[in-house]
Amino acid sequence: MSYHINDNGYYGDFGGAFIPEMLHPNIEKLRQNYLQIMSDSEFQKEFKQLLRDYVGRPSPLYYASRLSKKYNTKIYLKREDLNHTGAHKINNTVGQILLAQRLGKTRIIAETGAGQHGVATATVCALMGIECIIYMGEIDIKRQAPNVARMKMLGAKVIPAMSGSRTLKDATNEAMRDWINNPLDTHYIVGSVVGPHPYPDMVARFQSIVSEEIQWQLKDQEGTTKPDYVIACVGGGSNAAGAFYHYLEDTSVQLIAVEAAGKGIHSGESAATSILGKEGIIHGSKTLLMQTKDGQITEPYSISAGLDYPGVGPMHAHLYKSGRAEFMSITDDEAMKAGLALSQLEGIIPAIETSHSLAIFDHKKFKNDDIIVINLSGRGDKDLQNYIDYFKL
């Protein structure tokens, strides 16, 4: 069984491009050109150079000795939190802005939930001098004021999504509507491994730099390119896709995807899509999503704004259904405690999204010689207010 995309744009049963005809020309143009553009040597040269000089790659693979000692195993942290703008999101936006330029596009749109992808998009648009419009749910705009200010300071226009539940899924709808209304000059930088083919594959490829680096960094430190486990949190799933990418076909490396259980899987306030979701269509892709019996998409909940997406990318739906990856879910409380623990054990304040992956050690036992890599997908600066409120700091 393959875990990569097939020629028709599917991972197993999942993926495809369920799009209105109005989006067909743009999606088709992207589909026909993305692999060719990405494999072009000039493109690769420019991409790699920006990742090095602008983003600050490679990000360190850090052996967390005190954390390892606590759980009696060997834990490495892939430090995506040290990237420019504070998360893995910028790997993808750098790639897509270069691609957009080669497609002759002069206007960029993007959706954002917590604001990390919005900031990463506004950043590369400023870098290239390209007009940038970010759609963000009206509710998220209120919850994430610092990131809204960052986007504005970077020159982006932030448009509130007022429809539906006024959060990430509605921001995504609005971005797609914008693209329908502006088909010629605009490129849509999707922020995760979601949406119609070729987005899931394209974003996974841009994020695959994460596991590419893990391979040689681990070789330097442990003498092997292969950890026993790779662990990452999953909302839409882009950081997990990047961390898993080069290990997908090697089943000796176990993959663990960590979802947000919110206030408990069956509390009615959760984002554990693999457990609560059913197969269906969201944002142009066949995948697992949270929905009513009648097929209406429901609103998920997590304390972490980056994990409360009602679907997962089609790659992850396939990893779940095929059993290639183990899916675990972590509650708000468990994640917050794990975030505090990492801060005080290692001097690293993680994003709350990432804190979910750090919390699995209380649920799953590892051997003392297991090599575990956790993708530390983002830093906690943006979540400070949440941590303050939660711990009454």
């Binding site: 495809g16 491009a17 369920f18 799009i19 209105p20 005809e21 109005m22 067909h24 020309p25 429809s163 539906g164 899924k169 509605d170 709808n173 797609m176 509507r177 329908i180 209304n181 502006n182 088909p183 010629l184 059913k278 197969e279 269906g280 269509i281 969201i282 944002h283 142009g284 929905q291 019996k293 009648d294 097929g295 209406q296 998409i297 429901t298």
Partner: protein, 257 residues
């Protein structure tokens, strides 16, 4: 013969009206359909509300949100339509997004449509290639015509492909937009209408998006077989309610009514 095909054979320009089922009130569906037929509408698109209607603008989104709040479901819609053929004879098309149909079960959905007397479906996020490979047989076994869209950006090659695989009419989107966005037609639309007319397609075209009055109806149907009105009608329902549908239809059809 399928009612859509029969209607397309008449020599008049067709007026098709879209409304969102369950809006303004849950129980308005049947009254709206009857009233539209009584006042001279030639075909009706019954919108199944969806939480995330990607191809629609604010008017239809809002009506969908309200309809869902009112409690509309696929099952309730089918119950409301159960006896519709005892009183309504014009073609009825269900327009909805694919996920609710998928959850109902495509086969079960088509069977239900056939039993009720639905003539066709418009599913904006079910593209032709996926329809061809996975669903055509099921739709056709239940006598349903699936209608596809073209836009000003659709390539000539793809228009030919869509025409070759369409069985009723082609839904011709008048401009690059979501529903209810633009007002009136300019030179761009006029030349697009002419370009499509000159292709002499097998399937007649019905123009949608941007039609809201007698002038735009006439412009749209100058070369095309008919026109579809959605957002403007939903707006009328919002402001005037369901008792003055005749007033709306008269403003569209004008003196030729």
């Amino acid at each position: 013969m399928n009612r859509i095909k029969q209607q397309l054979l008449t020599d008049k320009k067709l007026l098709s009206i879209y409304f969102t089922a369950g809006y303004p009130n849950l129980e308005d569906t049947v009254s709206i359909i009857k009233s539209l037929e009584r006042h001279g509408v030639d075909m009706i698109e019954i919108g199944m509300p969806f939480s995330d209607p990607l191809a629609d603008g604010p008017t239809i989104q809002d009506s969908s949100t309200k309809a869902l709040q009112n409690g509309m479901t696929t099952e309730i819609l089918f119950e409301q339509l159960q006896a519709i053929r005892q009183s309504v004879s014009i073609p009825l098309i269900i327009m909805g997004y694919f996920n609710p149909i998928l959850q109902y079960g495509v086969e079960a959905f088509c069977e239900k449509c056939q039993n009720i007397g639905i003539d066709g479906l418009i599913i904006p996020d079910l593209p032709m290639d996926i329809y061809e490979s996975d669903y055509r047989q099921i739709f056709e076994a239940h006598g349903l015509i699936n209608v596809f869209l073209i836009t000003p950006q659709t390539s000539e090659e793809r228009i030919q492909y869509i025409d070759a695989n369409s069985k009723g009419f082609i839904y011709m989107v008048s401009s690059a937009s979501t529903t209810g966005v633009q007002v009136g037609f300019g030179d761009e639309q006029t030349s697009y209408f002419k370009r499509i007319a000159d292709m002499n397609l097998n399937n007649p075209q019905i123009v949608g998006f941007g039609i809201s009055n007698n002038m735009t109806f006439k412009q749209a149907t100058n070369q095309a077989k008919g026109a579809i009105i959605g957002s403007a009608f939903v707006k009328h329902l919002t402001t005037e309610g369901i008792d003055s549908i005749d007033k709306f239809i008269n403003t569209i059809l004008g003196e030729c009514h």
